[in-house]
């Protein structure tokens, strides 16, 4: 059991079935820079955020940089938040253990 979680990401514009498959395969969650944000950030709902039917659930050993009962944010530059680059776009990345994927 990892230290932080269980978090979830609901199916949405950027949390597609294909992305969920990749997350399961790599056991990583990547995050872009939020709208008007300053740095790539992984964002997920905490258990009090509404759980939609289609979602992934995960735990991680990386402590969130900020949290509320509804959400958790991991900022690139925060401890153990890794950097990834794809198609010249910078992402934040955290290693996770995915316990549920209903986006199938």
């Amino acid at each position: 059991m990892l230290n932080y979680g269980v978090f979830h990401r609901n199916e949405a514009t950027h949390q597609t079935r294909e992305v969920a498959e990749l997350q399961v395969k790599t056991q990583e969650i990547w995050g872009r820079t939020p709208k008007d944000g300053f740095a790539p950030t992984v964002q997920a709902y905490r258990p009090l955020g509404v759980k939609q039917g289609r979602r992934i659930e995960f735990s991680t050993d990386v402590k969130p940089g900020a949290e509320s009962p509804y959400e958790a944010w991991w900022y690139l530059g925060g401890a153990n938040v890794e950097e990834r680059i794809k198609d010249q776009e910078l992402f934040a990345c955290i290693p996770v253990e995915i316990s549920l994927n209903t986006q199938v």
Partner: protein
């Protein structure tokens, strides 16, 4: 005094409090977007003493909740006092703060308690907000009821039938009191914030300035 901003400052932010009101309660100008996390509604504010904050409601935040985001750079010993400053500036009752930074993340006070009641002070602000959102700055009693019920969470206690006006629920009676009572130091009419119109009100320029101070209108 708050300023309702046309765009985000882009400053790094973090969630620091949750309010039991919908985002439409706080701002007549709502920005809607989709980012990497989810669909979101947001409003951006600054105050004269250099506090910048955002209110957001992501799609899977519970309904009738709004999250307050403060600068990530804000020192920990200033977070709670800044939350209080923001709550005061927004004219929000402290009872509407259901969580703030440093409280347990695993629990939260109920967004809607059976016994919570709309009070006349908050009802006065709601009446003005409904009229301010109308193109001609007026609102009938029916429009006020409809508008308030769309962005204020009504409890069981609010919905109890009035003893003195059996055709109305208590929250409706309180709104009627705001619109009907022309006397009293707190009356929106005595304070020059609204004019009485038949079965409703028109918000005055002083009323609009009043809502501008709490950031409701840009």
């Amino acid at each position: 005094m708050l300023e309702n901003l046309a765009r985000s400052s882009g400053a790094p932010i973090a969630p620091r409090a949750i309010f039991s009101r919908s985002i439409e309660y706080f701002s007549a100008r709502i920005h809607v977007f989709v980012d990497d996390f989810d669909a979101c509604k947001a409003a951006y504010f600054s105050s004269g003493n250099h506090i910048y904050f955002e209110l957001r409601k992501y799609a899977s935040h519970p309904d009738t909740s709004t999250t307050l985001y403060l600068s990530l750079a804000l020192e920990e010993d200033k977070i709670i006092s800044t939350v209080k400053t923001v709550v005061d500036a927004l004219d929000l009752p402290w009872s509407a703060v259901v969580w703030y930074w440093s409280e347990d993340l695993a629990s939260i006070r109920p967004l809607l308690e059976d016994h919570s009641r709309l009070r006349e002070r908050e009802a006065r602000e709601l009446v003005l907000k409904v009229a301010a959102k109308s193109p001609d700055r007026t609102a009938t009693m029916e429009e006020i009821r409809s508008g308030v019920s769309s962005f204020y969470p009504l409890s069981k206690a609010d919905r109890v039938r009035s003893l003195t006006r059996p055709a109305e629920q208590l929250w409706q009676q309180i709104l009627r009191n705001v619109v009907s009572h022309r006397g009293g130091a707190n009356s929106i009419f005595v304070r020059g914030l609204a004019e009485k119109l038949g079965n409703g009100i028109r918000i005055t320029s002083d009323g609009l300035r009043h809502l501008k101070r709490s950031g409701f209108i840009p």
